[in-house]
Symmetry: C2
Subunit: 259 residues, 2 copies
């Protein structure tokens, strides 16, 4: 069956989209199939994979509202094995609509469950979440088997970590008993500055083995790649960003064996 | 009367909180009085001004739900003239509660209007918004006379700019006819990398005089200051961050004369 992985953190700008795109593409380069769902109304994952705003209709909003079946919301990308469900403009209005609906936290789970057991299921479904713990993020956490938390190596991001881990614990106890913390990924680490080192030491001290050994360094090529609509590995195969996400994909797969 | 300024951008991690804190403190150092309202459930502005999580009760959630009057939600800070209304944990649940209530976009405005005309009004009320265009941010935009949009000098942040300016236009046409775009502030600019230069050229080309002349450079002291609970000017008075926000406060005040 397929594994559903949410990439979530309510702190903004910590590398959720960058991680969702570059982990997904690195998994595909290792022979896996992945569907990436863009659940953020900003649509950054859709931009980062080259899907023009004008052709994002029948995307994740249509999927979660039940208007479009999973199979017809899939888009091919430049990476063999990687499909995307883009975020269309209507997703910005989904929050208010979901609040009034039945089983509002289970909408996405009810749609993805039959997909994950079907014979056309990908190996992984990766969900890029918006920077909040709203109903869209809750739908992702209720659907997921495990969560990756990207953590920018900054004080304010560190401060917010307990909010997201507390939310995961709450959801495990009530809405999704099988939800696991896959791991915490340190991003934008700048080894030249003390703050990064302090944050890394703090997180490893507190969360231990839950923090991936792999760290993602600050690398300007990672922030340039989305403007070309491709993952880092196609934009600059020799960059520090490509190597870091390749290493992360290996560590992610090794950790998968333990679940 | 007092001027109400929202600091907003749905893109995460672009420097909203850093701008709200450091503009507010720089205005106070120039003799103005400011109330900073933390409207983000993450509570980063409250942390950045040294208010411990344990004492944030009767904050912005109690204010917007009408439980606590404005005057008793004010907290003193280390900066003379600067008061804070902190974000307590309950604010995370405000979104769902607001959806069901009457005049849901006007809750904050109805509370702040009498304050701004009262004789105890500060010169400015600055509102730090969460990274989304949800009901909390809408309440800030409906209350505000003008909006500052911090813009990280990155491609994905640039891409999101039209979403926030379109939302401002929509609110001006319907809910708040006097809402103005105060300006767009370029943040975390790294003059050594091309991407920053390209983004700056793009934004100035498209938005012209709406973009402040002042730019905020990437400066690690700005990201260290919140861990000491003080604005940059108290943490490191000689840093590039302090000088940039001092210059920004001057430009902000000069532009105020034009409204
Ligand atoms: N390791 C890195 N080095 C340099 N830049 C990075 C790195 N990771 C991400 N970025 C850039 O930093 C910005 C924030 O990253 P990203 O958009 O992936 O974060 P996010 O958590 O998805 O943001 P949001 O909260 O808005 O959804 C982007 O402009 C991105 O290109
Ligand atoms: N000019 C700067 N130079 C270096 N670091 C900065 C600068 N401005 C902000 N930072 C740091 O970058 C991170 C993001 O900034 P900040 O939290 O102010 O953004 P935000 O838009 O309020 O984020 P959110 O969307 O989560 O509310 C923080 O860790 C902050 O300390
Ligand atoms: Mg994102
Ligand atoms: Mg903030």
């Amino acid at each position: 069956a397929c594994r559903i992985i949410a990439v979530a953190n309510q702190k903004g700008g910590v590398g959720k989209t960058t991680t969702a795109i570059n982990l997904s593409s690195a998994l595909c380069q290792r022979g896996h199939t992945v569907t990436l769902i863009d659940l953020d109304p900003q649509g950054n994952a859709s931009t980062g994979l080259g899907i023009d705003r004008a052709v994002r209709h029948q995307g994740s909003y249509a999927l979660i509202s039940g208007a479009t079946p999973y199979r017809s919301s899939l888009r091919p990308t430049a990476i063999p094995g990687l499909s995307l469900i883009p975020a269309e403009a209507g997703l910005a209005g989904a929050e208010v609509e979901l609040v009034m609906s039945d089983r509002r936290e289970f909408r996405l789970r009810d749609i993805l469950a039959p997909v994950s057991y079907g014979n056309a299921a990908p190996n992984f479904i990766v969900i890029d979440c918006p920077p909040s713990l709203n109903l869209l993020s809750l739908n992702a956490l209720v659907s997921a088997h495990a969560v990756i938390i990207p953590l920018q190596a900054e004080f304010l991001a560190l401060e917010g970590l307990t909010q997201v881990t507390a939310t995961i614990d709450r959801i495990r106890k009530s809405l999704n008993p099988t939800l696991a913390l896959h791991g915490i990924l340190l991003t934008m680490v700048d080894r030249r500055n003390n703050l990064s080192e302090l944050v890394e030491a703090d997180v490893r001290g507190f969360f231990g083995g839950k923090v991936y050994q792999t760290i993602i360094p600050r690398n300007v090529r990672l922030s340039e790649a989305p403007s070309h609509g491709t993952p880092i590995s196609l934009y600059d195969a020799k960059s520090a960003g490509t190597l870091a996400y390749a290493q992360f994909a290996e560590e992610f797969l090794a950790r998968e064996m333990t679940f």
